[in-house]
Symmetry: C2
Subunit: 218 residues, 2 copies
Protein backbone atom coordinates (compact mmCIF):
# COMPACT_ATOMS: atom_id res chain seq x y z
CA UNK A 1 0.00 0.00 0.00
CA UNK A 2 1.51 3.38 -0.96
CA UNK A 3 1.79 5.94 1.81
CA UNK A 4 1.62 9.72 2.00
CA UNK A 5 2.50 12.38 4.54
CA UNK A 6 0.63 15.70 4.41
CA UNK A 7 2.01 18.60 6.41
CA UNK A 8 -0.35 20.94 8.24
CA UNK A 9 0.25 24.04 10.34
CA UNK A 10 -1.75 26.93 11.72
CA UNK A 11 -2.88 28.84 8.64
CA UNK A 12 -2.94 25.90 6.22
CA UNK A 13 -5.55 26.23 3.46
CA UNK A 14 -8.19 23.74 4.58
CA UNK A 15 -9.61 22.93 1.11
CA UNK A 16 -6.20 22.08 -0.35
CA UNK A 17 -5.38 19.95 2.68
CA UNK A 18 -8.73 18.16 2.83
CA UNK A 19 -9.18 17.47 -0.90
CA UNK A 20 -5.69 15.93 -1.04
CA UNK A 21 -6.08 13.89 2.14
CA UNK A 22 -9.56 12.56 1.32
CA UNK A 23 -8.75 11.75 -2.32
CA UNK A 24 -5.61 9.82 -1.34
CA UNK A 25 -7.58 7.82 1.24
CA UNK A 26 -10.24 7.02 -1.39
CA UNK A 27 -7.45 5.51 -3.50
CA UNK A 28 -6.28 3.31 -0.63
CA UNK A 29 -3.17 5.35 0.13
CA UNK A 30 -2.14 5.19 3.80
CA UNK A 31 -2.34 8.91 4.59
CA UNK A 32 -0.99 10.68 7.67
CA UNK A 33 -1.12 14.38 8.54
CA UNK A 34 1.79 15.87 10.48
CA UNK A 35 1.55 19.14 12.41
CA UNK A 36 4.45 21.56 11.95
CA UNK A 37 4.94 23.97 14.83
CA UNK A 38 6.58 27.34 14.37
CA UNK A 39 10.33 26.86 14.56
CA UNK A 40 10.72 29.54 17.20
CA UNK A 41 7.91 28.08 19.29
CA UNK A 42 8.62 26.47 22.62
CA UNK A 43 5.87 23.94 21.85
CA UNK A 44 8.18 21.89 19.62
CA UNK A 45 6.24 18.69 19.26
CA UNK A 46 5.71 18.13 22.95
CA UNK A 47 3.56 15.15 23.84
CA UNK A 48 2.03 12.66 21.46
CA UNK A 49 -1.19 14.46 20.55
CA UNK A 50 -0.84 17.58 18.43
CA UNK A 51 -3.31 20.44 18.98
CA UNK A 52 -5.93 21.32 16.35
CA UNK A 53 -4.45 23.29 13.47
CA UNK A 54 -6.28 26.60 13.08
CA UNK A 55 -6.64 26.76 9.32
CA UNK A 56 -6.74 29.77 7.01
CA UNK A 57 -10.55 30.17 7.03
CA UNK A 58 -11.08 29.28 10.66
CA UNK A 59 -11.63 25.54 10.45
CA UNK A 60 -9.91 23.50 13.14
CA UNK A 61 -8.41 20.22 11.94
CA UNK A 62 -6.85 17.71 14.32
CA UNK A 63 -3.55 16.45 12.80
CA UNK A 64 -2.65 12.77 13.14
CA UNK A 65 0.88 13.28 14.50
CA UNK A 66 3.50 15.91 15.22
CA UNK A 67 5.98 16.48 12.39
CA UNK A 68 9.22 14.78 13.36
CA UNK A 69 12.17 14.53 10.98
CA UNK A 70 13.10 11.06 12.14
CA UNK A 71 9.60 9.62 11.64
CA UNK A 72 8.53 11.54 8.52
CA UNK A 73 11.29 10.70 6.05
CA UNK A 74 11.29 8.99 2.66
CA UNK A 75 12.06 5.67 4.35
CA UNK A 76 8.53 5.80 5.80
CA UNK A 77 6.40 7.52 3.11
CA UNK A 78 6.29 7.51 -0.69
CA UNK A 79 5.01 11.07 -0.96
CA UNK A 80 5.18 14.30 1.04
CA UNK A 81 2.56 17.00 0.40
CA UNK A 82 2.91 20.69 1.27
CA UNK A 83 -0.47 22.43 1.11
CA UNK A 84 -0.98 26.15 0.71
CA UNK A 85 -2.25 28.86 3.01
CA UNK A 86 0.08 31.79 3.57
CA UNK A 87 0.74 31.47 7.28
CA UNK A 88 0.99 27.69 7.26
CA UNK A 89 3.32 27.67 4.31
CA UNK A 90 5.49 30.33 5.92
CA UNK A 91 5.80 28.19 9.06
CA UNK A 92 6.78 25.18 6.94
CA UNK A 93 9.17 27.13 4.74
CA UNK A 94 10.96 28.61 7.74
CA UNK A 95 11.40 25.26 9.48
CA UNK A 96 14.86 23.75 8.87
CA UNK A 97 13.57 20.21 9.41
CA UNK A 98 10.93 20.67 6.71
CA UNK A 99 13.58 21.90 4.31
CA UNK A 100 15.74 18.93 5.27
CA UNK A 101 12.96 16.39 4.82
CA UNK A 102 12.07 17.76 1.36
CA UNK A 103 15.73 17.44 0.39
CA UNK A 104 15.72 13.81 1.53
CA UNK A 105 12.57 12.97 -0.48
CA UNK A 106 14.14 14.51 -3.57
CA UNK A 107 17.41 12.65 -3.04
CA UNK A 108 15.63 9.34 -2.48
CA UNK A 109 13.53 9.96 -5.58
CA UNK A 110 10.27 9.90 -3.64
CA UNK A 111 7.41 12.23 -4.61
CA UNK A 112 7.29 15.83 -3.37
CA UNK A 113 4.00 17.65 -4.02
CA UNK A 114 3.36 21.33 -3.40
CA UNK A 115 0.17 23.32 -3.96
CA UNK A 116 -0.12 27.03 -3.54
CA UNK A 117 -3.26 28.52 -2.07
CA UNK A 118 -3.86 32.17 -2.36
CA UNK A 119 -2.69 35.66 -2.94
CA UNK A 120 -2.60 36.86 0.61
CA UNK A 121 -0.15 39.31 1.90
CA UNK A 122 1.35 39.32 5.34
CA UNK A 123 2.83 42.46 6.73
CA UNK A 124 5.75 41.21 8.74
CA UNK A 125 7.43 42.73 11.70
CA UNK A 126 10.31 43.81 9.48
CA UNK A 127 8.21 46.62 8.13
CA UNK A 128 6.12 46.65 5.00
CA UNK A 129 7.62 43.49 3.64
CA UNK A 130 5.02 41.82 1.47
CA UNK A 131 5.08 38.09 2.00
CA UNK A 132 3.35 36.32 -0.84
CA UNK A 133 2.60 32.70 -0.18
CA UNK A 134 4.90 30.93 -2.56
CA UNK A 135 4.49 28.15 -0.07
CA UNK A 136 5.73 24.94 -1.53
CA UNK A 137 7.78 27.01 -3.90
CA UNK A 138 9.57 28.74 -1.05
CA UNK A 139 10.39 25.35 0.41
CA UNK A 140 11.45 24.27 -3.05
CA UNK A 141 13.97 27.07 -3.26
CA UNK A 142 15.35 26.44 0.18
CA UNK A 143 15.67 22.77 -0.64
CA UNK A 144 17.81 23.82 -3.60
CA UNK A 145 15.76 22.24 -6.32
CA UNK A 146 17.30 22.18 -9.75
CA UNK A 147 15.92 24.48 -12.41
CA UNK A 148 12.88 22.63 -13.76
CA UNK A 149 9.24 23.14 -14.74
CA UNK A 150 6.85 24.13 -11.95
CA UNK A 151 3.77 26.19 -11.26
CA UNK A 152 2.37 28.17 -8.32
CA UNK A 153 -0.37 30.62 -7.55
CA UNK A 154 -0.36 33.19 -10.39
CA UNK A 155 0.32 36.01 -7.94
CA UNK A 156 3.88 34.85 -7.32
CA UNK A 157 4.86 33.94 -10.84
CA UNK A 158 7.33 36.82 -10.95
CA UNK A 159 9.23 35.46 -7.96
CA UNK A 160 9.72 32.05 -9.51
CA UNK A 161 10.13 32.48 -13.24
CA UNK A 162 13.78 33.49 -12.92
CA UNK A 163 14.85 30.28 -11.15
CA UNK A 164 12.43 27.76 -12.68
CA UNK A 165 10.75 26.99 -16.00
CA UNK A 166 7.48 28.57 -14.97
CA UNK A 167 4.32 26.92 -16.30
CA UNK A 168 0.67 27.97 -16.13
CA UNK A 169 -0.66 24.42 -16.28
CA UNK A 170 -2.95 23.47 -13.39
CA UNK A 171 -0.66 20.62 -12.38
CA UNK A 172 2.99 20.25 -13.37
CA UNK A 173 4.84 16.96 -12.97
CA UNK A 174 8.62 17.30 -13.25
CA UNK A 175 10.34 14.05 -12.35
CA UNK A 176 9.33 13.56 -8.71
CA UNK A 177 8.22 17.17 -8.13
CA UNK A 178 4.48 17.85 -8.51
CA UNK A 179 3.24 21.44 -8.25
CA UNK A 180 -0.17 23.08 -8.54
CA UNK A 181 -1.90 26.47 -8.30
CA UNK A 182 -4.68 26.86 -5.74
CA UNK A 183 -7.86 25.39 -4.22
CA UNK A 184 -9.45 25.31 -7.68
CA UNK A 185 -6.73 22.95 -8.91
CA UNK A 186 -6.68 20.78 -5.77
CA UNK A 187 -8.82 18.02 -7.32
CA UNK A 188 -6.62 17.52 -10.42
CA UNK A 189 -3.56 17.83 -8.12
CA UNK A 190 -4.84 15.06 -5.83
CA UNK A 191 -5.97 12.87 -8.73
CA UNK A 192 -2.51 13.25 -10.32
CA UNK A 193 -0.92 12.07 -7.06
CA UNK A 194 -3.25 9.05 -7.05
CA UNK A 195 -2.24 8.27 -10.62
CA UNK A 196 1.47 8.51 -9.79
CA UNK A 197 1.15 6.31 -6.68
CA UNK A 198 -1.56 3.85 -7.78
CA UNK A 199 -1.84 4.06 -11.57
CA UNK A 200 -4.31 5.56 -14.05
CA UNK A 201 -6.93 2.85 -13.46
CA UNK A 202 -7.20 3.76 -9.78
CA UNK A 203 -7.49 7.43 -10.69
CA UNK A 204 -10.34 6.65 -13.09
CA UNK A 205 -12.02 4.35 -10.58
CA UNK A 206 -12.21 6.81 -7.69
CA UNK A 207 -13.13 9.72 -9.93
CA UNK A 208 -16.53 8.30 -10.95
CA UNK A 209 -18.35 8.38 -7.58
CA UNK A 210 -17.06 11.88 -6.88
CA UNK A 211 -19.53 13.05 -9.59
CA UNK A 212 -17.71 15.93 -11.26
CA UNK A 213 -19.90 18.12 -13.49
CA UNK A 214 -20.02 17.16 -17.18
CA UNK A 215 -17.09 18.61 -19.17
CA UNK A 216 -14.89 19.09 -16.11
CA UNK A 217 -11.40 19.29 -17.66
CA UNK A 218 -9.62 16.80 -15.39
CA UNK B 1 -23.37 40.02 7.07
CA UNK B 2 -25.17 36.84 5.96
CA UNK B 3 -24.74 33.82 8.17
CA UNK B 4 -24.62 30.06 7.62
CA UNK B 5 -24.83 26.96 9.78
CA UNK B 6 -23.16 23.76 8.53
CA UNK B 7 -24.02 20.51 10.26
CA UNK B 8 -21.30 17.95 10.91
CA UNK B 9 -21.38 14.49 12.51
CA UNK B 10 -19.15 11.43 12.71
CA UNK B 11 -18.96 10.16 9.13
CA UNK B 12 -19.50 13.50 7.39
CA UNK B 13 -17.75 13.75 4.00
CA UNK B 14 -14.84 16.06 4.78
CA UNK B 15 -14.41 17.54 1.28
CA UNK B 16 -18.06 18.55 0.99
CA UNK B 17 -17.96 20.05 4.47
CA UNK B 18 -14.65 21.87 4.01
CA UNK B 19 -15.24 23.25 0.51
CA UNK B 20 -18.58 24.70 1.60
CA UNK B 21 -17.27 26.14 4.88
CA UNK B 22 -14.13 27.69 3.39
CA UNK B 23 -15.89 29.13 0.33
CA UNK B 24 -18.59 30.76 2.46
CA UNK B 25 -15.94 32.30 4.73
CA UNK B 26 -14.08 33.63 1.67
CA UNK B 27 -17.31 35.43 0.72
CA UNK B 28 -17.57 37.05 4.15
CA UNK B 29 -20.42 34.82 5.36
CA UNK B 30 -20.41 34.28 9.13
CA UNK B 31 -20.09 30.49 9.13
CA UNK B 32 -20.58 28.15 12.08
CA UNK B 33 -20.32 24.35 12.19
CA UNK B 34 -22.61 22.45 14.56
CA UNK B 35 -21.94 18.89 15.72
CA UNK B 36 -24.91 16.53 15.62
CA UNK B 37 -24.66 13.61 18.05
CA UNK B 38 -26.48 10.34 17.43
CA UNK B 39 -30.02 10.71 18.73
CA UNK B 40 -29.72 7.56 20.85
CA UNK B 41 -26.40 8.70 22.31
CA UNK B 42 -26.13 9.65 25.95
CA UNK B 43 -23.64 12.34 24.95
CA UNK B 44 -26.40 14.71 23.83
CA UNK B 45 -24.56 17.96 23.54
CA UNK B 46 -23.03 17.88 26.98
CA UNK B 47 -20.63 20.69 27.78
CA UNK B 48 -19.73 23.61 25.58
CA UNK B 49 -16.95 22.07 23.51
CA UNK B 50 -17.94 19.39 21.02
CA UNK B 51 -15.50 16.55 20.34
CA UNK B 52 -13.71 16.22 16.97
CA UNK B 53 -15.99 14.77 14.30
CA UNK B 54 -14.42 11.64 12.82
CA UNK B 55 -15.11 12.18 9.14
CA UNK B 56 -15.72 9.65 6.38
CA UNK B 57 -12.07 9.34 5.29
CA UNK B 58 -10.54 9.58 8.74
CA UNK B 59 -9.97 13.31 9.06
CA UNK B 60 -10.84 14.78 12.44
CA UNK B 61 -12.52 18.18 12.33
CA UNK B 62 -13.31 20.17 15.46
CA UNK B 63 -16.85 21.60 15.17
CA UNK B 64 -17.53 25.13 16.40
CA UNK B 65 -20.57 24.29 18.58
CA UNK B 66 -22.96 21.49 19.48
CA UNK B 67 -26.13 21.39 17.40
CA UNK B 68 -28.94 22.79 19.51
CA UNK B 69 -32.42 23.39 18.11
CA UNK B 70 -32.92 26.57 20.11
CA UNK B 71 -29.66 28.17 18.93
CA UNK B 72 -29.52 26.89 15.34
CA UNK B 73 -32.83 28.07 13.91
CA UNK B 74 -33.73 30.40 11.03
CA UNK B 75 -33.93 33.31 13.46
CA UNK B 76 -30.13 33.02 13.82
CA UNK B 77 -28.86 31.88 10.39
CA UNK B 78 -29.79 32.61 6.78
CA UNK B 79 -28.72 29.18 5.51
CA UNK B 80 -28.43 25.63 6.84
CA UNK B 81 -26.13 23.17 5.03
CA UNK B 82 -26.33 19.37 5.29
CA UNK B 83 -23.17 17.79 3.88
CA UNK B 84 -22.89 14.21 2.68
CA UNK B 85 -21.11 11.16 4.01
CA UNK B 86 -23.27 8.11 4.63
CA UNK B 87 -22.88 7.72 8.39
CA UNK B 88 -23.03 11.44 9.14
CA UNK B 89 -26.09 11.93 6.98
CA UNK B 90 -27.82 8.97 8.62
CA UNK B 91 -27.18 10.51 12.04
CA UNK B 92 -28.63 13.83 10.88
CA UNK B 93 -31.57 12.25 9.09
CA UNK B 94 -32.52 10.20 12.14
CA UNK B 95 -32.36 13.17 14.51
CA UNK B 96 -35.83 14.67 15.16
CA UNK B 97 -34.36 18.09 15.98
CA UNK B 98 -32.57 18.19 12.63
CA UNK B 99 -35.81 17.34 10.84
CA UNK B 100 -37.54 20.04 12.89
CA UNK B 101 -34.93 22.69 12.18
CA UNK B 102 -35.05 22.00 8.42
CA UNK B 103 -38.83 22.40 8.54
CA UNK B 104 -38.40 25.75 10.30
CA UNK B 105 -35.91 27.03 7.69
CA UNK B 106 -38.30 26.03 4.92
CA UNK B 107 -41.25 27.69 6.67
CA UNK B 108 -39.29 30.88 7.31
CA UNK B 109 -38.16 30.91 3.69
CA UNK B 110 -34.48 30.68 4.64
CA UNK B 111 -32.07 28.65 2.50
CA UNK B 112 -31.69 24.88 2.98
CA UNK B 113 -28.76 23.30 1.14
CA UNK B 114 -28.06 19.58 0.88
CA UNK B 115 -25.20 17.81 -0.89
CA UNK B 116 -24.89 14.09 -1.24
CA UNK B 117 -21.50 12.49 -1.00
CA UNK B 118 -21.10 8.95 -2.04
CA UNK B 119 -22.52 5.61 -2.85
CA UNK B 120 -21.71 3.78 0.33
CA UNK B 121 -23.85 1.13 1.82
CA UNK B 122 -24.36 0.50 5.48
CA UNK B 123 -25.52 -2.87 6.68
CA UNK B 124 -27.71 -1.96 9.59
CA UNK B 125 -28.58 -3.99 12.61
CA UNK B 126 -32.02 -4.64 11.16
CA UNK B 127 -30.53 -7.19 8.82
CA UNK B 128 -29.35 -6.72 5.28
CA UNK B 129 -31.01 -3.37 4.92
CA UNK B 130 -29.03 -1.36 2.42
CA UNK B 131 -28.78 2.24 3.54
CA UNK B 132 -27.82 4.46 0.67
CA UNK B 133 -26.79 7.94 1.64
CA UNK B 134 -29.58 10.05 0.30
CA UNK B 135 -28.47 12.34 3.06
CA UNK B 136 -30.04 15.69 2.63
CA UNK B 137 -32.66 14.03 0.57
CA UNK B 138 -33.63 11.73 3.42
CA UNK B 139 -33.94 14.75 5.64
CA UNK B 140 -35.90 16.43 2.88
CA UNK B 141 -38.43 13.63 2.87
CA UNK B 142 -38.78 13.59 6.61
CA UNK B 143 -39.23 17.33 6.60
CA UNK B 144 -42.11 16.80 4.18
CA UNK B 145 -40.84 18.91 1.34
CA UNK B 146 -43.25 19.58 -1.47
CA UNK B 147 -42.71 17.83 -4.79
CA UNK B 148 -40.11 19.96 -6.54
CA UNK B 149 -36.88 19.74 -8.54
CA UNK B 150 -33.83 18.32 -6.74
CA UNK B 151 -30.75 16.24 -7.33
CA UNK B 152 -28.64 13.80 -5.30
CA UNK B 153 -25.86 11.31 -5.76
CA UNK B 154 -26.72 9.31 -8.94
CA UNK B 155 -26.77 6.06 -6.95
CA UNK B 156 -29.98 6.99 -5.18
CA UNK B 157 -31.88 8.52 -8.06
CA UNK B 158 -34.36 5.63 -8.02
CA UNK B 159 -35.34 6.38 -4.42
CA UNK B 160 -36.14 10.01 -5.13
CA UNK B 161 -37.59 10.26 -8.63
CA UNK B 162 -41.03 9.15 -7.50
CA UNK B 163 -41.47 11.92 -4.95
CA UNK B 164 -39.51 14.73 -6.58
CA UNK B 165 -38.78 16.16 -10.02
CA UNK B 166 -35.39 14.50 -10.26
CA UNK B 167 -32.67 16.45 -12.07
CA UNK B 168 -29.16 15.48 -13.10
CA UNK B 169 -27.83 19.03 -12.95
CA UNK B 170 -24.79 19.50 -10.68
CA UNK B 171 -26.65 22.04 -8.57
CA UNK B 172 -30.42 22.50 -8.45
CA UNK B 173 -31.99 25.61 -6.95
CA UNK B 174 -35.73 25.24 -6.25
CA UNK B 175 -37.06 28.21 -4.32
CA UNK B 176 -35.08 28.04 -1.07
CA UNK B 177 -33.94 24.42 -1.49
CA UNK B 178 -30.47 23.93 -3.01
CA UNK B 179 -29.29 20.36 -3.76
CA UNK B 180 -26.13 18.91 -5.28
CA UNK B 181 -24.51 15.57 -6.14
CA UNK B 182 -21.12 14.79 -4.56
CA UNK B 183 -17.62 16.04 -3.73
CA UNK B 184 -17.04 16.79 -7.42
CA UNK B 185 -19.93 19.28 -7.39
CA UNK B 186 -19.05 20.82 -4.02
CA UNK B 187 -17.35 23.89 -5.57
CA UNK B 188 -20.31 24.88 -7.79
CA UNK B 189 -22.62 24.08 -4.85
CA UNK B 190 -20.68 26.40 -2.52
CA UNK B 191 -20.35 29.14 -5.16
CA UNK B 192 -24.11 28.96 -5.78
CA UNK B 193 -24.72 29.47 -2.06
CA UNK B 194 -22.40 32.49 -2.13
CA UNK B 195 -24.33 33.90 -5.08
CA UNK B 196 -27.68 33.40 -3.32
CA UNK B 197 -26.46 35.00 -0.08
CA UNK B 198 -24.10 37.68 -1.40
CA UNK B 199 -24.86 38.21 -5.09
CA UNK B 200 -23.21 37.24 -8.38
CA UNK B 201 -20.47 39.88 -8.04
CA UNK B 202 -19.22 38.31 -4.82
CA UNK B 203 -19.27 34.87 -6.43
CA UNK B 204 -17.18 36.15 -9.33
CA UNK B 205 -14.81 38.01 -6.98
CA UNK B 206 -13.91 35.06 -4.77
CA UNK B 207 -13.71 32.62 -7.67
CA UNK B 208 -10.68 34.31 -9.31
CA UNK B 209 -8.00 33.67 -6.63
CA UNK B 210 -9.16 30.04 -6.27
CA UNK B 211 -7.54 29.46 -9.72
CA UNK B 212 -9.83 26.91 -11.34
CA UNK B 213 -8.40 25.23 -14.45
CA UNK B 214 -9.28 26.84 -17.79
CA UNK B 215 -12.68 25.70 -19.13
CA UNK B 216 -13.96 24.62 -15.72
CA UNK B 217 -17.75 24.62 -16.26
CA UNK B 218 -18.76 26.60 -13.16
Amino acid sequence: MPSALILIADGTEEMEFTITYDTLVRAGVKTVSAYVVEFASSNVGKGSNPPPAKCSRGMKILPDVFFDLSACGPDVYDLIVIPGGAQGAETMSNHPSVQEVIKRYIERNKLVAMICAGSYQIITSSGVHIFTPIQGSLAAKTAVLARQPLTSHPSVKAQLEHDFEYSEESVVVSDNLVTSRGPGTAFPFALTLVELLCGPEKRAEIRVPMVFPPNTPF
